[in-house]
Symmetry: C2
């Protein structure tokens, strides 16, 4: 693994974020870049991994503010590990709840599609399934 360095343009293509966004994230403290003797940003493989990781977190629903908090904690060292772990656990739990909810919505959607396909009794109204829906929430 050569320690290749990337300037912002190339890096932006690698991680799929615009140069605008990269500078914005840096402003926000989510990313740190190194500079060459002219003040030009450069990034390494390590930065690719780091951006990848924060994009995973973001992809599970973390807001930029939460992300900032995570980064701050990380900077504080190992004593914040429990807190970081808990943050991730909560994020995970939330995301799993989101998936469950999404799947519930999908079930209704599927039934509706079947209805359109005539696989279901057409006398049932457009919005037949709301009661099932409420049921699902009742035991939360």
């Amino acid at each position: 693994m050569a320690d290749k360095q990337y300037r912002i343009g190339e890096f932006s293509k690698l991680v799929g974020l615009s140069t605008y966004t990269l500078r914005y994230y840096e402003d926000q403290g989510l990313i740190v870049s190194q500079r060459d003797e002219n003040g030009v940003r450069y990034y390494t493989e390590n930065d690719i991994r780091w951006v990848g990781f924060i994009l995973h977190l973001k992809g599970t629903g973390l807001r930029l503010n939460d992300l900032k908090r995570y980064v701050r904690l990380r900077a504080e060292g190992d004593r914040t590990i429990p807190e970081r772990r808990d943050m991730l656990q909560k994020t995970k739990d939330d995301a799993e709840a989101d998936i469950a909810e999404l799947q519930m919505h999908l079930k209704v959607l599927s039934r509706k599609i079947d209805w359109y396909d005539g696989k279901v009794d057409h006398t049932i109204d457009d919005s037949e399934s709301f009661h099932d829906y409420l049921q699902q929430f009742n035991d939360k």
Copy 2:
């Protein structure tokens, strides 16, 4: 099932949308309300089902604009059924893709939590899994 009527305040609690939002949705053409002799909105069980249904759609990722389109098509009658069906199918496909992506992110998160718990070799860096991540996208 009595044909109970609900005014906006009660209805808002039933469906979990603020009165502001209900009026807003009505402005946008997503909901229709009836009025009593004083011009006061009232809603019925049927409206509960309808709002439930659009919230399902919304929950799977449909934007208000898409929702509006669906409602417009619905108002045009049965000849738009194929188009509505396809809309729902696409929504369903998109949502399923979202779930798949979310689950991928979750996998990384879980691994990271394990790492915090010491279940994984601690010499591996914070952001170890970005390469796996990129792999997942490569065959899309």
